[in-house]
Structure formats: C-alpha cells, structure tokens
C-alpha cells in the first residue's frame, strides 16, 4: 500500500455474474467495476445475493457463468488462488478461532500474513485502541459478544492491509460509537488506495460509500453515488405530527399509499408512493394529525425501491 492511489486502475470487477444453486438462481447477472481507492456498497434485503456475490469475488464459490477479476487476475484460473493472499475477506460468521483469545487470534493472523514484529506491534496497538478490545485481550473469541467478535474479525483482516478488502456485514451488532470508529479506519485505508466492497444492513453506512449498488433478487436495481440516488428519489417522504402515535402508526401501516413508517421522536416518519400525500392526509385529519414534508434520506430510498421491486404494480399509484 505504499503506492500513491491510482484511481483509474480497476481493482475488482464482476462481469455478468450468475450463480445457481440447483433450481435457485441466487445471482442473476451482476456487473460492476471498482477502482482503487473506492468504497463500494452492496445494499439489499435478505437473500438478495450479496453474500454469494462476495463469495464469488473472493474466489471461494465458482460462478455458474460470468467473470471475476481481482487486480486483473481471474481467481478461478490456474494459479489464481494466490489472489486469496492479496485480498482480505471478513465473512459474516466464523472467521476466527473460537478457542483462541483475542490476543492469540491477532498473533495467529499476523504470523499467517508474515508481518514483521515491529509492524505488527504498531498496527495491533492502533486497532486495539480503535476497537476498545484492549481490556478483553485474554477473552476467548467464542466468549465474545457479537459486536466484539466483529471488531476482532475486522482487526484481523486489516492487519496485513490488503489492496482489496471484501466485507460481508462487518458491523452487525457493533455499537454506534465503535461503528463510527471502524468506518473512520476503513476510510483511512480507502484514502490510501485500498478498494473496499462492503455489504451492510445499516443505511447510514450505505450513505457513506462512494457508490452503492441496490441489489434485489440477484440483480442490481440501481447503481450510483448515494447522494445522487437520494436526489432522484421518486417517492414522497413526510413526518406525521399530532394524534396518538401508536394509533396513527396502526392506521398508516394499513394504507396502500404508505411504503414504510417508523417513529422519529414524537413524530412518525412515513415513506409514500409518488403523490400519495393527499390520500394519507385525508385519513390522518380525523385523528388530529397532519403531514409535514421531510427530505428523504438513504434509508427512505431503500425502503421505497425495495417495496417497488417487490410489489411494484400494487403500490405504484
């Protein structure tokens, strides 16, 4: 990672990737190209094909058809398995030795990557400070809470500072303060030229990616910078003021114009189909509640796009 970032160099690419498991088509023609120094998000609901895509990119699962290139090399070609030493992968589960302590896991991965003693000591100290795992060094990985395990898994993957990093939901169960710090760390590596592809169920994290692909049922629905996607939000977003929150919540959930609703303080945040406000407002008036327009955020966009993909004809008014 001593080279200056070369933004134009493609670090990771997928071309028309397809993966079938028996009759199930988990991935149905996914293509993208990620340059060095880019943070790219794979965002989608459960079972959208994100994990399968990441497994194909890492060379662990052979695509049914289509191509993967990691730094120009096909990981499935002869000798391609060497790529696995250059890339870093944090899978969703079980990437550590449960019967080894935090310290022993870090030692093990350092030895595996052939890190020098001084280099290891410095990086370890930094990672332990950011993750706040220092006080728990002697605790076995199998005894860690979900969030602490995730922090350790990410730390182990970052020890050797790979050029390409694949992260499958790296912050599930990680608390909000540590999540910010882990993302600052990822950003720092990206700034130095690391290419990172990440899947996450946290929409605030999705909004921090340079580009995202919204994935649904094995296909990319939308791709672009999160800010651009939000600016082109086709639905309507508002907050409901007044009325009994619980009762209003019950009412709006049953309306076909409402894609999603969730509490935001005393208000209820509401994502609606295009031009759905009038119908919703009419149902709210008898409850003493009304709509206040609110700019959409990335989570609103996600909820809208996925609902459209799932029951598009039903909700598209």
């Amino acid at each position: 990672m001593s080279d200056a970032p070369k933004e134009s160099v493609v670090a990771l690419s997928a071309e028309n990737l397809v993966k079938r498991f028996g009759k199930t088509e988990a991935v149905r023609g996914i293509s993208f190209s990620i340059p060095r120094g880019e943070l790219y998000g794979l965002i989608g609901p459960d079972a959208a094909g994100k994990t399968t895509t990441l497994r194909m990119l890492s060379g662990l699962v052979r695509p049914t058809s289509g191509q993967v290139r990691v730094l120009g090399v096909d990981p499935f070609a002869r000798g391609g398995s060497k790529m696995r030493e250059i890339i870093g992968l944090v899978p969703q589960e079980h990437s550590l030795y449960g019967d080894l302590s935090i310290e022993e896991n870090l030692d093990f991965f350092s030895a595996l990557y052939g890190l020098g003693r001084k280099e290891y000591i410095e990086r370890r100290a930094r990672l332990l400070e950011i993750t706040r795992l220092g006080p728990f060094l002697a605790r076995r990985a199998s005894q860690l809470s979900g969030g602490m395990y995730k922090k350790l898994a990410l730390s182990c993957a970052l020890l050797h500072q790979p050029e390409v990093l694949l992260l499958d939901e790296p912050t599930n169960g990680v608390d909000p303060v540590s999540r910010r710090e882990l993302w600052e760390l990822i950003y720092e590596f990206v700034g130095q030229g690391m290419a990172v592809i990440v899947s996450t169920p946290y929409m605030d994290e999705a909004a921090r990616c340079h580009r995202v692909a919204l994935v649904h049922a094995g296909q990319i629905l939308r791709e672009g910078a999160p800010g651009d996607l939000v600016r082109s939000f086709p639905g309507t977003c508002a907050e409901i003021v007044g009325g009994d929150r619980e009762r209003v919540h019950e009412i709006v959930e049953s309306l076909p114009e409402v894609v999603a609703a969730s509490p935001a303080g005393a208000r209820l945040r509401c994502v609606m189909v295009p031009n759905g406000e009038a119908a919703v407002a009419a149902k709210l008036a008898p409850e003493g509640a009304h709509l206040v327009p609110s700019p959409p955020d990335f989570e609103d966009l996600f909820l809208f796009e996925i609902a459209m993909a799932e029951h598009g004809t039903k909700v598209a008014a």
């Binding site: 706040r132 728990f136 599930n172 909004a207 619980e246 959930e253 969730s262 303080g265 909820l303």
Partner: protein, 315 residues
C-alpha cells in the same frame, strides 16, 4: 405460596452486580420495568447488557443485589423465572435441517408442552409472527429476517409474561426490521413486557423508556424525549455536503462545539448557543475544505444521546 409471584412491577432490579474476577461486568444497577412496557437497554459492546439479561433470565447468579422477574427472585427461584419468561439470545439457535413447524415442536417439547395443547400453541405462535404459510419450509432455506421471527415465535410458545430480546434485529435489513418491530409493538399492546437491546438507535424510538449502560453502570434511565433533553444539551446542527467528514477535527477544536459526529453522509454538530451561532458551523466546515450544501437545526436523535452518554460515562 412463599415462592409465588409478588411484585407490582414486571421486573424489579435492586443493586444488581456481577463480577468476573476483578472485572465488574454489571456494577450496582437498579431499575424497574412496568407490565406491558417496551423497555430498551442500550450500551456499547461489553457494557454489561447481555450479562444483565442472563441474570434476569435466571441463567447466571448475581454476585450481589437482587431482582424480581415476574415476581420470582432470580437467585432463589430461577426455575420460576424461566417458566415466566421468553428469551431470544444474540446467538439464538434453530435447527436448520428441521422445518419451521418441527423447530417449534422441539422447543415446545423443552418447555414440557405436548399433544393438542402444543399444536394450539404452535398455531398461535405462527399467527403472532405471520408465518403460517411457511410451516413446512426448511429453516435453513429462510432468510435471516424470517429466522429471527421464528426464534421469536419459539420464545413465545409457553405464553411468557415477559420476553427478553437480546439484539433481535442484528444484521436485519430496514424493511424486515420494521416488520419485526410491528410484532414487538403488538406483544406489548397485548400486555407482554418487552425487554430489548439493540444497536439500531432508530429502533430505540419505539421504547417507552430506555436505560443507558456504560462500563457496567446504568448512567441514565428515562423516556426517549427526556434523554434527548437532558443528555444532549446545546443545539444540534445537521450539515450535509461533500467532504464534510474531513471537517470533524477542526469543528471539535472550536470552543463553542460540544461534539461533532458523522451521521450517514452528513454531520451532527452540537454547539453551545451562548458561544457560537448556527451558521458558524457551516463556515468552519467550508474553511476545512468541505462543500456544504445544507446546514439546519435539527432535533437530536437517540444516536446523539448514545454518543453523549458514552462520552459522559466513559471511565
């Protein structure tokens, strides 16, 4: 009935503590939870949330202090506690090679139900989590969000008056999380007490009251609105634009700034209105090289509360 239920509150915790060697995982914690309340228990990883839950479920003996759960003393009558509660742990286990229905039969059997009674309970539990049509589906074929719902169903089979949910939605996408919380709201409306931990601060908005744990201690306990008022003093300014995250260090260095944090692609900057004007925040960001497209006063969120509490309570 000397060991029978005897408490007005659903959960009553008094000076509860748990030490592992010299490490105080839970340090002198006291609170109560009302019947039918949705009670949120928030804190950083390792703050003592899961240890508290395991004690309240009768799975772990406290070092000191007492707690009554559904009227049963957790130290003297852990079996009484276990009969009255449902528990969905972080690492909930379902048998992936069994169908949805078979998993429920298995867990129902553990609680001692069988025959017609068990079939009725399974029916009701499947209704509660809206999974009737998935009865004969293999659990391994279910996406994560539905597995979570099945785990919830299995913790409801014996009609507990309290359910403990330890990060039930970790890793679940936004629409599935809303579906899951719909179930939790309905449980609460039907009188079941819900004790829940989460790292999604938007979910904490559903809670009637929230306890904030920092390093084993309960540092705050109140309604979401009160926590925002008391723990997030000053004014919260939301900043959006390009490269705004790079302005955080210079914002934090300013005397009028109480705190500055990234929120998605933007920032939340807390300022002392006596020492700084709203529009100075954007000016500082611009001076630091950011291109600000939006600067507005917003209400603090529970994520602001979490960060403020973690800062204030940090050892």
């Amino acid at each position: 009935m000397s060991d029978g239920p005897s408490s007005e509150h659903s959960i009553e915790v008094s000076h509860l503590a748990k030490a592992f060697g010299t490490f105080k995982a839970v340090d002198d914690v006291s609170f109560h939870v009302e019947k039918g309340e949705i009670f949120g228990y928030l804190g950083a990883n390792g703050a003592g949330k899961s240890t508290t839950i395991r004690m309240l479920c009768g799975l772990l003996k406290p070092t000191s202090g007492t707690a009554l759960v559904a009227g049963f003393d957790i130290a003297k009558n852990p079996e009484g506690v276990k009969r009255s509660i449902g528990y969905m742990s972080q690492k909930f286990s379902l048998y992936l090679d069994l169908t949805v229905e078979q998993n429920l039969e298995f867990f129902g059997g553990i609680y001692g139900a069988g025959g017609k009674e068990l079939r009725m309970r399974i029916d009701r539990a499947l209704d509660e989590v809206s999974m009737q049509e998935l009865r004969t589906t293999l659990t391994g074929a279910l996406p994560g969000g539905l597995r979570q719902r099945l785990a919830l169903a299995s913790s409801l089979l014996h009609r507990p008056s309290i359910v403990f949910l330890d990060e039930p939605t970790a890793g679940v996408d936004p629409s599935s999380r809303r579906d899951f919380w719909k179930l939790i709201r309905h449980l609460s409306q039907s009188g079941t007490t819900v004790f829940v931990t989460t790292h999604y601060m938007d979910e904490a908005e559903y809670c009637a009251r929230i306890g904030m744990m920092v390093a084993g201690k309960l540092v705050a306990l109140d309604t979401p609105a009160e926590l925002k008022r008391t723990l997030v003093p000053g004014r919260t300014i939301r900043i959006e634009g390009d490269l705004v995250a790079s302005a955080v260090p210079s914002l934090r260095a300013h005397a009028g700034v109480i705190g500055a944090e990234t929120f998605g692609a933007g920032l939340h900057v807390r300022i002392d209105p006596a020492r700084m004007k709203d529009d100075q925040v954007a000016a500082l960001c611009t001076a630091a090289g950011a291109r600000v497209t939006l600067s507005e006063r917003v209400d603090p969120t529970l994520e602001d509360v979490f960060i403020a509490a973690a800062d204030a309570g940090a050892p």
